[in-house]
Amino acid sequence: MSSPAVHVAGLERVFPARRGPGVTALAGVDLDVAPGEFVSLIGPSGCGKSTLLRLIADLDTPTAGTLEVFGKTARQARRDQDYGIAFQQAGLLPWLTVTGNIELPLTLHKIGRRERQTKVAELLELIGLTDFAGSYPDQLSGGMQQRVAIARALAESPRLLLMDEPFGALDEMTRERMQNELVRICAETRAAVVFVTHSIPEAVFLSDRVVVMSPRPGRIVDVVDVALRPGERDEALREDATFFAGVARVREALHGTSVPSARGVEHR
């Protein structure tokens, strides 16, 4: 119970260049994510937020620093399937049905047929796509595909969910609906979430804490505590003063100066 979902200390990732010193994608990153906590990583392109997520997922290896997932190495956590992951592209296998896609991780890990059926039915219910169980990805809209990808990430009931701009390719209305659904899903599954985005309202609406990053080299410049009570995240929150205050604080942290919240001036 004591070990955090994610523990990162002094993490560094340098991509070697053929000539010169290489590109420092991340430098001196410290971060702890508690079990059940929702943390967003936000920042401009090239700030290393996706790199950080890929390091946590052990899809990439850090150059230096400590990285633990539930008290284990990232590699061990990946082998133990401690996390579920969703990317900006849904990345569904086009030759499998919705059911086939959701149960893919279960099939790969040799879970029995009966158990798979129960789990898929439960997840289809959760994402509201029960009627589409037999459909193929090319018959679904972008939002529906992304919901299937999220269901797939949840298939093994992970305690940690890693999401790399999962709603980045969706239109604004679908996006807000998906955010509402994610809030509900997180409340039901009680998984910790690390969520990469470059939408300020999205980060504030979803997160317990927003980690603000800046590029060259990628590092954490501020952590904004949104501090909303559970159950507060509903449609009304989007028009609430606490929400706007949170948006303003994240924006200030992003731009590095204090800007009047209503104006939203761009400093470049």
């Binding site: 997922a57 399937q81 992951i85 990317f87 592209q89 990345g91 030759w95 893919l104 193929y136 090319d138």
Partner: protein
Amino acid sequence: MSGVPAARTLGAPLVFGLAFLGLWQLLVVALAIDPFIVPAPSAIAGQLLDHLDTVTAGALRTGANALVGLVVGAVIGVVGALLANAVPVLDSLAAPVVAALSVMPIVALAPVLYTMYGADVDTARQLVAALAVLIPIYVNTLRGLRQVRPVHRDLMRAYAATPRQQQLAVTLPTAAPYVFTGLRVASSLAVISALVAEYFGGPVGGLGKSITSAAASSNYPLAWAYVVGSILLGLAFYVVALALESGLTRHRRP
């Protein structure tokens, strides 16, 4: 299902074909063209009906050679591509051979192969067909194996999938449409190669041999009837390959 598009896709070429044949018939009759230049469609059709049994037998003989060649070439091509994809050294070693084979007119090998395997068996013809289909299938399969999307590769790594699982779950299904495209291209090549190989020798029987012997005995309408048989044989191979391709790869494009 609906009448109008079906009438367009089927009706238009049918009308065009009939008009073309009609015009051909008209010109041959009106200008009294000799059959050794070009025979009338009616004469060709007459010969086709009269010799339906020999045309069918020839088509079956040539078709069997083409099929054996296609299967052998496809198996070697796919297995070769799998190996080349798994072991990069093999790929670099094979590259010059593949380039050489792809510019070589394979049927030119037929006389050599006849002397190697004897002129009384079909082996040389089957080998020519196999060699002709090998390259398009190898090249297409290898390309297909390399189309795995990065997001799928990441996903498989995230699931800690074994290399074998990754191969079965992602790599092979991704490559499948490319293999079938290669097979479709190769299907016509197999028939053409098996048929043309017959021109250079080998046992009697088969459409190619029949075309040459009919032409040699100045029976031009009969030679053309065998040509029609070859066209139908080639079409049959192509249509089956096309049906396989579109049937098995329906949802492959994301």
